[in-house]
Every structure is written in C-alpha cells, then in structure tokens.
C-alpha cells in the first residue's frame, strides 16, 4: 500500500510543531535576547502551516512547484527580518534545519513498519527542506548585502563634509581613497557649497588620503578645474612628504595648482588672497 506522506504529515501537524519547538528551544544558540519564545512559536506555526497546506502527493518531488510559493514568501520574510535583527547565518539556518529533524522524526515513528516507505518519504522531505534552507541562506545573504550597500552609501555621504572655515573660504577634508564615484560626490558637494556660500576659495585637504596614484591625481585635477570654472580658486593641502616624493616620481604635474603641506598654511594663503590679516591682540599701553 502506498502511503500518502502529505496526509500523514498533516495529521501530525501538532506533534511536528511541538518537536520542532523543543528542538529550537534546546539549541544552545537560541537567541532569547532577540526574539521571545512566543514570537518564535508564532513564526514556526505560520511557516509549518503554510508548508503542510501546500504539500501534496504530487508536488513532493518538485521543489520548484508553484504551490510552494507561499512557503517561500513566508520563509524569505522570516530570514530577511532575522538578517536585519543581527542573527548569525548559523542561527537562521538552524531554524529550518531543526524543522527537518522534527519532520523526519515524526515520519520515522509513523512508518516504523514500512522501511521502504520511510526511506522514500525521508528522501523526498530531505530534498524539499534542503531547498528551503538554501533559499533561507540566499535571502539572508541578500538582505545582509543590502545592509552593506546602504552603509556604503551612508559612508560616502558623511565622509564629504564641506566646512565654511571663513567668510568666502570653504574647506573639504577628503578621507579614504578617491575613486570615480567618490570624486563625483566630492565635486558635487564642493561646487554646491561654493554657490550657496558665495565662496571664492576652496581648500581640498588630502591628509586622509592614503595614496595618491595617477587616477586620484586625475580626479583632483578635474575637481580643481571645475572649481575654477565656478570662479573660485582651489588650494590642495595636506600633502605629506612621502606623497610629494611619490607624485614627483610618478611624473604627475601639479605645478599649476596651489598646493600646501598643511591646512593651516592653505588657510594663511587664502587669507593672503582675500587680503585679510590675523594678528595677535596688542595690550593697551596705558595700562602698563
């Protein structure tokens, strides 16, 4: 007699859920700090019901079957939320893999007297649950990657602050490597600030750039050229001794750009252009 695995599983719905919860709660890596046991129980209940509902005798062999779409959806929702909450891949994987243990365990009990059917059923359930766990990992990693991408965007945004150091003088400290996309952000922020503040002098500080190769130099030259088109003078500051030597050996010509070793000397140069003077306050002679 051929046993209908799906019916068998549906009949034992409650038992499977209980076993599954026991497995999950027994696992040492359970994160009670991230999710309460009730919430975990709800998630498990939801997934198991969806799985058992969509399972039937025909689609057991076909993990790509459309009837599993609902299950995939619930599962990817769970693994996505777990990735955001900071679960490790292991903890997320255990969620599905412990369901496998519970299901196989139930099958073993039910089909004790029919070894052939048991092998057959466990093989099919194995396949199905493996593909579910692969799916879990895929979604998990995808959501993690989204987090990383968002952070990359945030970093490139917060790393380009344009500072108004004086009336008519803006400064932009560049930290990290200047690649094409970074240059775009830097240039946009700088040109925008020049317009808004009506500045005539822009200081680009490259103290935080680890190495200046020809690509970085080219991007700097372009930024300077664009600043000049806007009618502002551009000073590059923060050139360290080793960078100076490297640029010379590399054969990059920066001679028609005003460059200074430190931000302070760039500021002094800017004051000179604006004909400003900073002086030490003189004490009143009559007091003495």
């Amino acid at each position: 007699m051929k046993t209908d695995i799906s019916k068998l599983l549906q009949k034992n719905h409650k038992q499977i859920l209980e076993d599954w919860m026991t497995n999950q709660l027994a696992d040492a890596s359970l994160r009670e700090d991230l999710m309460s046991n009730e919430e975990l129980g709800e998630q498990s209940q939801e997934l198991l019901s969806a799985l058992l509902k969509s399972i039937n005798d025909k689609n057991l062999n076909d993990v790509q079957s459309e009837e599993f779409e609902n299950v995939y959806e619930i599962l990817s929702g769970i693994s996505m939320s777990r990735a955001r909450q900071g679960y490790t891949p292991r903890e997320t994987g255990m969620f599905v893999l412990s369901l496998k243990q519970a299901i196989i365990g139930t099958l073993t009990k039910m089909l004790k007297n029919d070894p052939q059917a048991l092998v057959d059923a466990s093989f099919k359930m194995n396949n199905l649950l493996d593909s579910l766990s692969i799916m879990t990992f895929e979604t998990f990693i995808k959501s993690r990657e989204e987090v990383i991408l968002r952070q990359t965007d945030e970093i490139s945004e917060i790393s380009t602050p344009v500072i108004r150091v004086w009336d008519g003088i803006v400064a932009l400290p560049i930290i990290g490597t200047l690649d094409s996309s970074r240059t775009q952000v830097v240039m946009e922020a700088l040109l925008q600030e020049i317009v808004e503040s009506g500045s005539t002098i822009a200081i680009l500080d490259i103290s935080g750039v680890p190495a200046v190769d020809s690509l970085v130099a080219q991007h700097l030259i372009k930024t300077v050229a664009a600043t000049r088109l806007m009618g502002a003078e551009c000073i590059i500051s923060g050139i360290r001794p080793e960078i100076a030597q490297t640029v010379v050996h590399l054969g990059i010509d920066l001679s028609n750009i005003v460059t200074k070793a430190s931000l302070a000397s760039a500021l002094r140069h800017a004051f000179g252009i604006l004909q400003l003077e900073v002086q030490k306050k003189q004490k009143d002679k009559t007091v003495r």
Binding site: T177, D179, P210, A211, V212, D213, S214, L215, A217, Q218, P241, E242, I243, Q245, T246, H249, L250, G251, I252
Partner: protein, 137 residues
C-alpha cells in the same frame, strides 16, 4: 639569488578589490620594516598596475612575495592578466601615452617608483608585470 620567504595571492576582479590589495601590500611592507616613503612608492606603483590590469586586462591575479637577496629584503609583486595584451611595449612605457582617457603616467611612473620592473606581453593572450621594491632601495 632571490629567496622567496612568503607568498600571497589575490584575485583582482572589481574596482573594490584595489583597496584591500593595497592594504595587504602595505601590511607586508610594514612587516619587513620598509620605510614610509618606500612603502608609499610601492603601494602607489601597485595601485597603478592593479588599476591597469582592471581597466585594460579585465582583471587578473596579483601575487605578493616577500623576497630576500643577501642581506636585503624586499617585496615582489607579480600581476598577471589574460587580457588583449600590449602590442607595442616601448610605446606603452612612454610618458603621456594612453589609450584610455587617463594621464598616461601609470606604467612609466610605476617603473620609476620601484627598483626592478619587468613587463612581458603576448598580444591576444595577456600581460605579466613584475616589480620589486627593496626595503632600502
């Protein structure tokens, strides 16, 4: 006689691989006690060559080796790509020559920054560039 003390291989496929590679080179250079000026020169040369490999060779492999010759230690970097190759190497090594829209100082600049520079290319099958920077070179 050059002895290889340490070997490390890295795949360079995307632009994002450039910075980790540079950091790795810096790590090795710091480990053998290379000064900051020579370190910067080596890293800049490596950066030029690795960007060339990405832009013209479609990515490839970079080998970092710590080598020793007599009492001198140094870093040898080998860049291998399977790109279209360079037909006229003397022309490519000329200052200001570029087929892209860059400054044209990458290859000749890199040669000036290191102690030994060797380039081999077979049109159609790829390019290999090997550079050595001695600790006190």
């Amino acid at each position: 006689m050059k002895l290889v003390l340490n070997k490390d291989k890295m795949q360079i496929i995307r632009e994002q691989d450039v910075v980790p590679f540079r950091n790795r080179v810096k790590e090795y250079a710091t480990k053998i006690g290379m000064g900051i000026v020579n370190q910067t020169k080596l890293i800049t040369a490596a950066s030029e060559l690795v960007r060339n490999m990405l832009k013209y060779g479609g990515g490839g492999e970079a080998l970092i080796e710590v080598i020793s010759q007599g009492r001198d230690n140094g870093i040898r970097l080998t860049f291998t790509d399977k790109g279209p190759g360079i037909t006229d190497i003397p022309l490519a090594m000329k200052d200001g020559y570029t087929t892209g829209k860059s400054l044209g100082v990458g290859l000749p600049g890199a040669r000036r920054l290191v102690n030994e520079f060797d380039i081999k290319s077979t049109p159609g099958s790829g390019t290999t560039v090997c550079i050595i920077k001695w600790k006190n070179g």
